[in-house]
Symmetry: C2
Subunit: 344 residues, 2 copies
């Protein structure tokens, strides 16, 4: 189903097989989920992460729930399925792709006949295939915007690991590299989870794309001193007015890019756009445990009793977004009218 050796989310016919991204890059361990509760846990503990990837995982979670529902007494079946859908939908709050995928599966569930599990499996595989195709399309559209020799910066991991394959922001970077438009990538390490250090640098290096890792705090300095033309990121939710929720630190890069005249490109499939969210103010920003800030990989750095604040997403207002790239096309300076037209 994928065109990359990276298979972060894979259906083996019986179970959902997830590459445990918490162990990367040092170990490639796969977790085989045979019931939906395991999928919920895998999403909330970030075995699988990245907005499109958790959407796909959620969809196959519905398949597992429907299969298990066959063994539940008929009177309790509907309740069982509703509870499973709710648990999957709420496994993480900020990325809309998860809710989108679970809702799409619920629609399929409502209309499916006797071959329920087969129909749901097909629908989940369709979600997967569509995401992969969208990534390639976005890669081509985004790469066309770069001038040859571009230096770019990316944040967190919006790569093959965050999607069905190829990646959103990293899809653009892959396409740009293939087309000879790319000089170098600066990858921010992305505290507290270090997705840039662990995942993005690893993905790009595997593809032979020149990448250097930097601390999040040095990004503005690197923009100023190294001639960064584009900051290219993914998204967890794009609101109806074009506001973008994405990994914490995106907003700081957007502010710095505007100050330096670098351009901000947000790359996200249409499944990330949520027209029912009027603006970024309505987006629930997940806060995770302070220990993710107080510790690094289980080593405590802060003194006992020190408190921390750990919002893991932030909102970049639409007026800081230069270009939104979706598989439906490119939208410059997104606003409500442009978003409505794009999604019509």
């Amino acid at each position: 189903m994928t065109d990359s050796s990276l298979a972060p989310v894979r259906w083996d016919g019986e179970a959902l097989v997830l590459l445990d991204q918490r162990q990367l890059p040092h170990e490639e361990t796969y977790l085989r989920c045979t019931d939906h509760a395991e999928v919920v846990a895998a999403i909330s503990t970030m075995v699988v992460r990245g907005a499109p990837a958790i959407g796909i995982a959620g969809a196959f979670g519905v398949v597992l729930a429907a299969r298990a529902a066959g063994k539940v007494s008929e009177g309790r079946r509907a309740d069982y399925l509703q509870a499973a859908l709710r648990a999957l939908r709420e496994a993480r709050p900020t990325a809309v792709n998860l809710a989108w995928a679970v809702d799409r599966m619920a629609t399929c569930l409502a209309s499916a006949g006797a071959e329920l599990v087969a129909a749901l499996t097909e629908e989940a595989e369709r979600i997967f295939d569509e995401d992969l195709a969208a990534n390639h399309r976005m890669g081509d559209l985004g790469a066309a915007l770069l001038s040859p020799g571009a230096r770019v910066m990316t944040h967190c991991n919006a790569g093959a690991l965050a999607t069905a394959g190829y990646g959103t922001a990293l899809g653009v970077i892959r396409s740009a590299w293939r087309e000879g438009r790319l000089a170098e990538v600066f990858a921010t390490e992305t505290r507290p989870w270090l997705q840039g250090a662990r995942l993005t640098a690893w993905e790009l290096q595997r593809d032979g794309i020149p990448v250097r890792l930097i601390t999040d705090g040095s990004a503005a300095h690197v923009m100023r001193t190294r001639g960064v033309a584009w900051v290219i990121v993914g998204a967890d939710r794009v609101a109806a007015n074009g506001d973008v929720a994405n990994k914490i630190g995106t907003y700081a890069l957007a502010v710095a890019a505007r100050y330096h005249g670098a351009r901000l490109m947000v790359v996200a499939p249409a499944s990330t756009v949520d027209l029912s969210t009027p603006s970024g103010e309505a987006i629930h920003i997940e806060e995770r445990t302070p220990s993710e800030v107080l510790e690094v990989a289980g080593t405590r750095f802060a003194a006992p009793g020190v408190e921390a604040l750990n919002p893991v997403f932030d909102v970049t207002p639409a007026d800081l977004v230069d270009v939104l790239v979706t598989e439906r096309g490119v939208l410059e300076r997104p606003d409500a009218a442009g978003m409505a037209a794009l999604m019509a």
Copy 2:
């Protein structure tokens, strides 16, 4: 000599005793330096850090060199001392306080008579005492600028640990807290060395000042959502035009503060001002080993072969500095004329 239980740099009459800041906050280990080469090593490996503190350490390093020079044959003594001065002066490149303190000791050395070691010890102790007094003065001047109930953000550690005691940025925060002007401090963790997590949060918590740790990447989001009025930082070098070199990440905070209407206060003693450096462009920005980015506390996160860029300071242009606080007074919107008047 200090009014705090924190004694990061202390002369015990025979040796320079340094609190090993690499082990904080978990262990309070002291390193006793009895020759100047140990002081050079302690500065370059960051046993002692913070621009004023490494200046003081360098000054006592000269005392140790002069004492050892007494045992060197008279014909080689001058060369020995010159080599020691140079090694101390160059132990780290960016903070000017180190060069300033070593040069001041060299002047004392040139004019001292028979009681050379005694004269140098007195001079080094004077540098220490002046720094402590400057911190208290700057604390009062800076705190007076804050409105009651202020939420502030600080970066790295510009505290008692970075100075003779009390601190520059944290001196202002301490004074503001005592005067009831402070609601809360957000301390950025400050990768790659995590001085915010390890040192600043610890220092403030010891004093009962409310502090929450945040990742560097979340600072702009926290400014936007939590009503931060001031970003208060120290400096490693202030150029003649008011440009400020400070810990990597300061520039990003300055850009974000300007975007949000928060104000940037740089707190630094006059010994940090270098009128011989015309602007930030002339400041040598130290780059340290990539392993500081690729690893956290000895644990490697990036895949083998991944490269990193590790500039550990950046330059904030004067036009992003709202206020420079020195012991000589407060300078709003520093520029060349204002700097010259301040230092006259």
